[in-house]
Symmetry: C2
């Protein structure tokens, strides 16, 4: 049962696709303050909060506060309140009631999940205008399903999007890309795609390809595709200001770029230096920008990742000038604690400055709207531009698409990756803990940069990380410029990686089918144990194991030098300790606590009673998977597993 | 058995106090490269590495690399190679052998503990000159004891230094300090000291007190002491350049400040703006600077913390001028990825710039030595200056002293705190994992900023953190300016904190005695389980439990929203689940794995077989502890516990 409450005069975000008649009266369970900016709910000690999508900390969000404010911040520390996304949906699970709340507003919202006061959940709107959807349900899963029912079906990627993707900022030319493919093939490690980060472009200009790096791009795309490997180029939000560059000139001519209050174009800067930002909130701009993907589709490209679309801003021309003027005032002074920190703050405040987001305007449904009021819709609508274009340009083909910034609604057009994480053990655990919340918000095609984007990975961390991310739909190894090489052939003996990636490919029929099922049923793929064992208090407290689809539970190892871990089984299950698809132990374990060995390269998987886990013989490419090799690992039941496609 | 190897012409660091005749030939177990800059040891899969003092990651240091290079870096992330200290001692535990290595050199040393290649331990000297001490031992503990035997006895603090200290950057005047004391007393939470961070000074000038904030400092110190509370002021390494300021003028007149190559004084900047740095490597400078503490001792002060002594440098005058000149070159340019990052790098490179550490010189044993070659000795010798002064000025009194930067040898003069950590759950675990390594290097009086220095704490994090840090000798709550108030009366119902701090005070007889015993026996207080159960493979892998003294093991909870945890018992023990000194459950548990409840405020403590844990009735001050209230919790044995003082 979903009730809709209109607060003020909210803007249409297009995140909800079902017409619901607004209810009168107050939002159930919550108390509103007089100004109507804050809703509060009193929690019992054992109440838990799920959802909130891409955020830091545990699966149960209780005990911290979160601000929906899409931010380009690579420091995913425990004290961050905002990452790249705004996912304003949460489920409250109390002993006495279960309900969900979705706050649909393009501006800032704070969810204080017991941070200020451990017993108080508050939802604080920066602006007055919002639509609140209150969802009563029989269970957390039921609340999620109802919610997902009103926001539209999740995006389905092409099946090859379940294969391994190899990425690095950046493979600089076709020789290097070819070498990556060759070395994966030589190592016998399955691979389906190689990502092109910003350096494939000509001067960081969207929808261009560097002639020097890729003399005949189409031919190279074909060459790679003929060996079963797709190239996936990046597209950034900012369009370089450069005379003679068609996208820039068309954008200016068509009035597609965001403007300042005086009607002049905003000049910001990202990779290419000065850029304009398309006004993705306008339908005609989305259509125009979306059509630009055609030049790459025509070259044979079948997948993209949309980046820097919070939008990230290195600086705005206006603010940078001000800073340079102010800097002069610090010259020759005795800079003490105040002066020096002020000076540093001046410089640190150049990128992604909140003031800059108040400098420019969108045209939304014919109205002029200041950016900060609709900030969280920007990445969504960039990806929507692409998704809508793909529907027009290649309606019969699924195109791979995921984005860094997102808002609920974008899940219909693409997935997300969790942005610029680091090669830290704690970020492996964060990856585990982020998956359920992302799924609840509709983002089924999601995953983190396996091995970590920033910082230097180690072989053992990569093995453990892969041992988890073989279960995530988006399965990509990506690293930043300047970090240790982390391609799977570059970290010592590649045999371990061959086995683990092989296991991923063995699991693809299961993972892909569970994905389609979750889309069909508006369900999650990754569930907290609490979703399946709501009456088991211990299970409800587990933060480092996940249900993956209907058949299995996993228990990743995320501690350096660990050779095993404690696992809680809410019921008897069959453990499969995989070393590879061919090499595994099976053991029936009773419910309760266990310490289980899990050496490097061993993947602990638990089959639920009456369930089956289908596996196939791995292939080097998803398309080469031979379903005739399928067999089922089962724990009781019929031993069958049903495919829905 | 310790053997000493001289590599090149090493400088005397005074870290070792025992004369050992150098051995000829090669360092056992290790292979040296031809240049002699790198020692390597081939590890088996199960080999572990302990020690390295104040560093990131787990107790077992294997799998990362560490660079001894004292650094003022508040971001204690997993990928950091250097924190504030240089502790070049490690113990290698292999199935076939146990040995230790101490690399005594004031320059940079890298310990690659299986980072580059998981099977290779390398020690890489930046400079050629070092003394290597190789220690053969029967066990890890034996190696540690032998090592500690050559570096001199660890510092012993006054007993009140085991009480709770409350700190914040900064309590700005006596009213605020008085309020802190009042509110602790009102809440019934024991407290022994209040720390004065930089704002107590007059313009951040060492050995001055702001007249405005503390009109009669001595009287105020007396007032606080009369209620049993000591004030502990901070002392910084840099001396403000200001005409008429006696320390500055004496320092210039006496030639005590470090100089550049041309003989002019180095002008750097920290809190007060421009400062000079005393040359603590000179004995006469240490004596001069040490005597300055007298002005505060005379005011009744009995404890200090030495800070910013890596030394931290906000900027040097020379480098800042260069930066300002370069900045002009960026004005009006189209700053793209290269230009903008270059510009940002220019500014980010101002503080603690490696080039600045090559700008100035020390006089060491009559020789002129460039700072970077002896960088790691600076904090050590600042604290030595203080320690030597206290021996002269008040030989019959123990003065509280700890430092941010340190080198082995400094442990004879004071303790360390682990610097600017954050209010993160992961930093609670880091605190747990840092204690054994610090202890092995001789730093027994140590601890972290409880609750975290940077970022905002939550009530539950503070409860869990305190539940651990009640066991650390240095027990201080400290937070940065701008963060949420984290005094224990400011985080909701203070009853939980009263109980936990009360438990600390109940444990002080045990903790203090185990401290004295560890000093006497050159032992650690905090041991990895591997030290006591070397043949128990599972125990050797435990990274989140510690032996504390001879009688107990602890298992802290460091996970948000957890209501218990898994604990591995290497043998049967008696669990005491403390809620307070008066309120606890006792349960005999067999060896093996257990999931144990530990609600917020419950402290899991395990008494070893045949051992006793003495506890007393808590008092509001350490000095008020009544030893007649002592009782013993025991698990078998005689039920006695022996006090050595």
């Amino acid at each position: 049962m979903i009730r809709k409450y209109v607060i003020g005069s909210p803007m249409e975000t297009d995140s909800v696709v079902v017409d619901i008649t607004p209810s009168d009266g107050r939002i159930p369970k919550f108390k509103a303050d007089e100004a109507g900016h804050m809703l509060t709910y009193v929690m019992d000690d054992a109440d838990r909060i799920y959802g909130l999508g891409e955020t830091v900390r545990g699966i149960n969000k209780r005990g911290w506060h979160y601000v929906s404010n899409c931010s380009d911040d690579p420091n995913h520390h425990e004290d961050k309140t905002s990452l790249y996304a705004a996912h304003n949906f949460m489920v409250v699970v109390s002993a006495k009631e279960v309900f969900g709340l979705y706050v649909d507003t393009p501006g800032k919202v704070e969810f204080d999940a017991g941070y200020t006061d451990h017993s108080i959940l508050s939802v604080i709107l920066e602006d007055f205008d919002a639509i609140a959807y209150f969802i009563d349900g029989a269970s957390a899963r039921d609340v999620v399903r109802q919610f997902r029912g009103i926001i539209g079906k999740s995006y389905v990627p092409p099946k090859w999007g379940f294969g391994l993707g190899q990425s690095r900022w950046s493979y600089v030319n076709e020789d290097e890309v070819r070498e990556v493919a060759d070395r994966y093939d030589e190592a016998g490690i399955p691979l389906d795609s190689i990502y092109l980060d910003i350096d494939y472009m000509d001067g960081y200009k969207d929808f261009t390809v560097s002639d020097e790096a890729f003399p005949d791009f189409k031919e190279f795309v074909d060459e790679m595709k003929s060996r079963g490997i797709r190239l996936v180029p990046i597209i950034d939000a900012g369009v370089k200001i450069e005379q003679g560059y068609d996208v820039y000139e068309e954008g200016v001519a068509g009035g597609h770029f965001v403007k300042k209050e005086d009607g002049s174009l905003l000049t910001a800067a990202v990779w290419p230096g000065r850029v304009h930002f398309p006004d993705f909130l306008r339908e005609d701009t989305r259509r125009w920008f979306g059509d630009k993907y055609k030049v790459l589709l025509d070259a044979g490209i079948e997948g993209f990742w949309n980046d820097m679309n919070e939008p990230a801003i290195f600086y705005t021309e206006d603010h940078l000038s001000e800073v340079f003027e102010k800097i002069d005032g610090y010259k020759g002074r005795n800079l003490d604690i105040n002066g020096f920190f002020e000076f540093q703050g001046l410089i640190d405040g150049i990128p992604n400055n909140p003031e800059d987001y108040r400098l420019f305007y969108h045209e939304k449904d014919g109205l002029k709207v200041r950016h900060d009021k609709v900030h969280n819709l920007y990445g969504f609508n960039m990806t929507r531009a692409a998704g809508e274009a793909f529907e027009r340009l290649c309606p019969d083909k699924r195109i791979l698409m995921f984005s860094r910034s997102s808002y609920i609604g974008m899940h219909r057009y693409g997935g997300v990756w969790t942005g610029d994480n680091a090669s830290w053990w704690s970020h492996l655990l964060l990856n585990v803990q982020q998956m359920p919340g992302l799924n609840m918000s509709g983002f089924l095609y999601s995953g983190a940069d396996t091995g970590g984007f920033g910082a230097d990975v180690t072989r053992d961390l990569m093995i453990r990380w892969i041992s988890f991310s073989i279960f995530t739909p988006l399965f990509r190894n990506h690293a930043a410029m300047g970090t240790r090489r982390q391609e799977l052939y570059a970290l010592g003996d590649s045999g371990a990686f061959k086995k683990l990636v092989g296991l991923r490919y063995a699991l693809i029929p299961y993972l892909y089918n569970e994905y389609l099922r979750a889309v069909r049923d508006d369900d999650v793929i990754f569930a907290p144990l609490a979703f399946d064992y709501p009456d088991d208090e211990r299970a409800c407290g587990v933060e480092d194991q996940l249900m993956v689809g209907r058949s299995i539970m996993i228990a990743p190892v995320y501690v350096q030098n660990a050779r095993g871990r404690h696992v809680y089984l809410p019921e008897g299950m069959k453990m499969v300790r995989f070393r590879s698809m061919e090499d595994y132990d099976e053991e029936e374990l009773p419910g309760g606590d266990h310490y289980l060995r899990a050496e490097l390269g061993e993947v602990l998987t638990f089959i639920r009673p009456g369930c089956s886990l289908p596996i196939v013989t791995p292939a080097m490419r998803v398309e080469e998977i031979d379903m005739k090799t399928l067999k089922c690992l089962s724990y009781g039941g019929s031993g069958d597993y049903e495919f829905i496609e």
